[in-house]
């Protein structure tokens, strides 16, 4: 079918505008992280400049920053592993067994995702304070389960439900028990769903600021908290802030591109069919 060349041109321009709009703040962050202080503060802003890695050298020499990045990895990986360990069997039960109250339990899991973190941050702060557990990894790892468990349960229930039930019957005939069937047959087949939910869980944990801000001080501080902490005083170290920002954003962007096909499912918890 022939299309009007003007419409085609409009389409082309529109698509280019989308790309520019989506990438500009990201590009500006990366560019700023590579600018010298003089270029950063230049007015009007400079688009062509001599890149420098001095800000990256500075942040990687700063033990507080490297520790925060390490903390972020520790917390995000542990909470993801724990969410999978607890969430996958629950998802299996919700997908493959019939029992009373199943729908209610499922709703309860999912609705935990809707709760505003500030609602839990207040009591968890007091509880952790009373237990002398402020500024520890374990509190963050556990509290992040409140949003990671729902996402794992949601995505994996979907995945387990999509595997044909005949496999279970065949295994039963061979004398396999329920746990063997789950671990040997269904779990391996559900790996794609597990992987996608693990990536989402990692992204959400890595990006989290509110809990980390309130529940950590120094030893367990995560990367977003340290980036935020640079924002004080009169002369802001913009190069350092943008370099830290880039280091935080790059890994999650790569992960997100890996799951871009599932982005909507992950963010809406299947609310759109």
């Amino acid at each position: 079918m022939k299309t009007n060349p003007l419409l085609r041109l409009g389409h082309l321009v529109g698509l280019i505008l989308i790309i520019v709009f989506m990438l500009f703040p990201f590009y500006w962050m990366l560019a700023s992280s590579l600018k010298s202080q003089a270029d950063l503060l230049a007015s009007p802003p400079v688009f062509i400049f001599k890149p420098t890695l001095e800000h990256y050298a500075e942040i990687f020499a700063d033990e507080k920053v490297t520790l925060a990045i390490l903390n972020s990895f520790i917390v995000a990986i542990s909470t993801t592993a724990l969410a999978l360990l607890l969430g996958a069997p629950a998802a299996y039960a919700l997908a493959r067994f019939d029992f009373r109250g199943k729908k209610d339990i499922w709703f309860w899991f999912i609705s935990n995702r809707m709760i505003s973190p500030i609602v839990l941050a207040l009591p968890v702060y007091l509880l952790a304070r009373n237990l002398n557990m402020l500024d520890s990894h374990i509190v963050l790892i556990l509290i992040y389960l409140t949003f990671n468990l729902p996402i794992v349960v949601w995505l994996c229930t979907d995945q387990f439900a999509g595997i044909p039930g005949e496999l279970e019957q065949a295994a039963r005939v061979d004398g396999a028990g329920t746990f063997t069937i789950f671990a040997r047959i269904y779990l391996p087949l559900a790996l794609p769903g597990l992987a996608v939910s693990a990536i989402f869980s990692f992204i959400f944990s890595w990006n989290e600021l509110l809990y980390a801000l309130i529940l950590t001080r120094r030893a367990a501080q995560t990367a977003p908290v340290i980036a935020t902490s640079f924002m004080s005083g009169y002369e802001l170290p913009w190069g350092k802030i943008m370099a830290t920002g880039s280091v935080i954003v790059l890994p999650v962007t790569i992960f997100a591109l890996l799951v871009s096909r599932h982005m909507i499912r992950g963010l809406t918890m299947g609310a759109t069919k």
Partner: protein, 317 residues
């Protein structure tokens, strides 16, 4: 060999017919086997989600000010709730939150639809897939970093967006004035969440059967008619979920605003989560903050009931 498998299958089918859920009486197949699978996750969520919530309810009935520990934490009944509900700054914060929703939502919906239509349109396949992939970038960007970048873009002295707006005649004190700061956080929110709307609408548009769309085009139906009669019915479910999900998101919105404006200047950008955080962790009045948080929780529960009623009912039907 094959006959014995067939026979076995028949036996399984027969026992499945007697017991519709397919669970036999064998070891590890008991009636309550699902409990073993569910218990760890349920217990974990009770411990980290439900128990703290109950603790917050208890706190909300006490005077709990960490700057006045010497007074102890006496039980005060409904006093915190009475003072919160009578406090105009609490209502103003809710109003600011609602305003924010009403400002960003229409923009995100319209822009999201335009983007989805451009991505749905045939032709320019490569550029379209590149544009589709770039939608993921804002969605994945750490919210706190979005705020930091926003602060740089809207810097009064050398911010690139400040200068760009100045060039078209809009000289605004972005982060220093009430309207400017509100507009700046709204712009960053639009940047981050328009792709979400676009992806949901794109999913809706791809569900429109190709033949129907084609037939309408052959009939030279106008773009508006095509949209209204053919595309809109497929977009409505997505739109409903968008409105509900985004309203829950905005009640949660904290990171980006905290790093960009801390709720200021004054309380111009103080949305509900920022406000409760300030009362709890900068004023250290945890009793009052807990009462506010419980009220926010009630609001969220009402919204999520709506969410479940409108959205999941269709999915499970």
């Amino acid at each position: 060999m094959s006959t014995s498998i067939e026979h076995a299958n028949k036996t399984v089918a027969a026992s499945a017919a007697r017991n519709p859920s397919g669970k036999g009486p064998r070891l590890g197949h008991g009636r309550f086997v699902h409990v073993w699978f569910l218990a760890p996750a349920v217990l974990a969520l009770l411990a980290i989600g439900t128990y703290p919530t109950i603790f917050a309810v208890v706190t909300s009935f006490h005077q709990y000010n960490l700057t006045r520990v010497r007074d102890g934490f006496p039980f005060v009944g409904y006093a915190n709730y009475v003072s919160v509900l009578g406090d105009s700054s609490f209502w103003n914060t809710l109003l600011t939150t609602l305003e924010f929703f009403l400002v960003v939502m229409p923009i995100e919906i319209v822009l999201g639809f335009v983007i989805a239509s451009l991505l749905h349109r045939e032709g320019l396949g490569f550029l379209r897939s590149v544009a589709r992939v770039t939608l993921v970038v804002p969605l994945a960007t750490t919210y706190a970093v979005v705020g930091l970048v926003g602060r740089l873009l809207f810097n009064q002295d050398f911010g690139v967006l400040t200068q760009a707006f100045r060039a078209i005649g809009l000289d605004i004190d972005w982060l220093g004035s009430v309207g400017g700061a509100f507009a700046a956080i709204a712009i960053m929110d639009v940047w981050q969440w328009t792709p979400f709307c676009a992806l949901i609408f794109l999913a809706g548009l791809t569900m429109v059967p190709g033949e129907i769309e084609e037939a309408a085009r052959l009939d030279r139906a106008s773009g508006l008619k095509l949209f209204w009669h053919i595309q809109l019915p497929f977009l409505l479910p997505g739109l409903t979920s968008l409105l509900i999900l985004r309203s829950a998101d905005i009640l949660k919105l904290f990171d980006m605003i905290f790093t960009m404006t801390r709720g200021g200047p004054g309380s111009a950008t103080e949305l509900i989560s920022i406000y409760i955080q300030r009362i709890g962790f900068r004023v250290f009045d945890l009793g009052t903050a807990s009462a506010q948080a419980i009220l926010l929780l009630i609001l969220t529960i009402v919204l999520s009931r709506l969410y479940i009623r409108f959205l999941y009912r269709e999915a499970s039907a």
